[in-house]
């Protein structure tokens, strides 16, 4: 039998060889194309993730976003600084893109506002704006980047997040994984990984263009974090919390990447 088959193989004509190789390669091509199409169908029909800290994305795509975050976190360094610009380049009219959590019909009195930092055991540290203004002031003129694709050079000033931490002896909390920030009405909220939060250019801003923040830009205090897209730059900070798990995040619940790092 064996000798017979090898003999037959040797006697294949060119025409037979062409047909045979065509058959094998086109069949292989069809199988691969079919599985690629099947894979695509599987991905596009895959169910949405179970709603939790993140929501709104297809489950496999969310897994991919989370894994991609882990890879790109390796490239993060607090020595990598966002490019800064001279004051003359800063926009005179700073774009107001969203008012979630700071809607104008909501009752809010900046004068009675206090920043609340939730410490271990539920103890709350309250800080007034005047107290914050006594801390070293940091100015930052940089290109604010929105996830939508627009960007704007803007001029902010406030207290560095890390300066606030050190001044109030909260250093032990930087050992934790995340910082959570919420508006006083809890309608808008973000979660920030600790390395990004303590980045030297992360500030809690109370001024824009050398003037106190207008309500639309997040008065009396907002987060300016250049290593994140605008969606993480929470306006009107009410409370700050620390945790080892991801705090809830408004846009991560709407299908966006939790990390959203730049």
């Amino acid at each position: 039998m064996e000798t017979k088959t090898t003999k037959e193989k040797k006697e294949l004509t060119v025409e037979q060889q062409i047909n045979r190789r065509n058959f094998i390669s086109f069949a292989g091509f069809a199988v691969l194309a079919g599985s690629a199409f099947g894979g695509w169908r599987w991905l596009s029909n895959s169910p949405e993730e179970t709603a939790g800290i993140t929501a709104g994305a297809k489950a496999p795509l969310r897994r991919a976003l989370n894994n991609t975050e882990l890879i790109f976190r390796n490239f993060f360094s607090s020595n990598h600084l966002v490019k800064t610009y001279p004051k003359s380049r800063a926009a005179k009219h700073v774009r107001v893109n969203s008012d979630i959590g700071i809607e104008s019909n909501k009752k809010f009195d900046p004068a009675t506002w206090k920043l609340e930092i939730v410490k271990k055991g539920g103890e709350i540290l309250q800080i007034t704006l005047d107290e914050l203004k006594k801390l070293p002031k940091t100015e930052l003129i940089y290109d604010f980047k929105c996830v939508e694709g627009w960007d704007q050079i803007s001029h902010w000033a406030g207290v560095k997040f890390i300066d606030l931490i050190e001044h109030y002896h909260l250093g032990e909390y930087t050992q934790m994984q995340y910082v959570g920030m919420e508006t006083p009405d809890k309608a808008y909220y973000v979660g920030i990984d600790m390395p990004s939060a303590v980045h030297p250019q992360t500030i809690l801003a109370y001024e824009v263009n050398d003037k106190p923040l207008p309500l639309g830009n997040g008065a009396p205090l907002r987060l300016i974090i250049p290593v994140k897209y605008g969606i993480k730059n929470l306006k009107r900070i009410g409370t700050i919390t620390f945790s080892n798990t991801r705090p809830r995040d408004y846009w991560a619940e709407q299908g966006y990447d939790y990390y959203s790092g730049l």
Binding site: I18, R62, A64, T68, H80, V82, K145, Q254, L262
Partner: protein
Amino acid sequence: MKVIKEKHSLLMRWTHWVNFPILTIMIWSGMLIYWANDEYTITLFGHKFFSFFPEWFYHALKIPHRLSEGMAFHFLFMWFFALNGVFYVIYSVISGEWRELVPKKNSFKEAWLVLLHDLHIRKTAPPQNKYNAAQRIAYTAIIIMGLGSLITGLAIYKPVQFYYLTRLCGGYHFARVLHFVLTLGYVFFFIIHIVQVILAGWNNFRSVISGFEVINEPAELITETPVQPTTANGNENN
């Protein structure tokens, strides 16, 4: 008498066909992202000739209001796009196939003659091996464009962590323009490529799937060289 002539390696065929759907997904998901702030137009002397993209185009492709979805797809398939390209380049370098691909000194002059021939202005085309001069230029350019998309993409994706890439690309804005223009380039390449493949015919198209072309050799050559060695060779390669 028909003779089998080996043309494309398995890895070249594999990466070529893998790239096609991946690049399609990257362009589609890129449009989902771009829609959220579609600021590019062709404007000359204050007159807007074209804006990317017209409403009917967005609606025909169901693009509006899918930014987060677009980003999720884009940042998954970017890995496959990059890896596939890296495989191809490494393979081409190690196998020496790059010699058939990269333009030679006279390729730029020859490409003009190829163009004239393709447009039926000139009767003869310059002699060639695997790729003619115009193909060498186009196929090398498309690889460089792929690298360009990767670099401009990273420059936009992580402009703080990869600030040196953003600087290399002429800043955040220019990196985005380059990323966009490269994509238009792929679409342009695709159109020309399809027309050329149709014109080149079945034998050429098949070679990108089966790896070989069939050549009709004059009868007297067959008597001199037996078919056997060529075919044995062919089986080995495939």
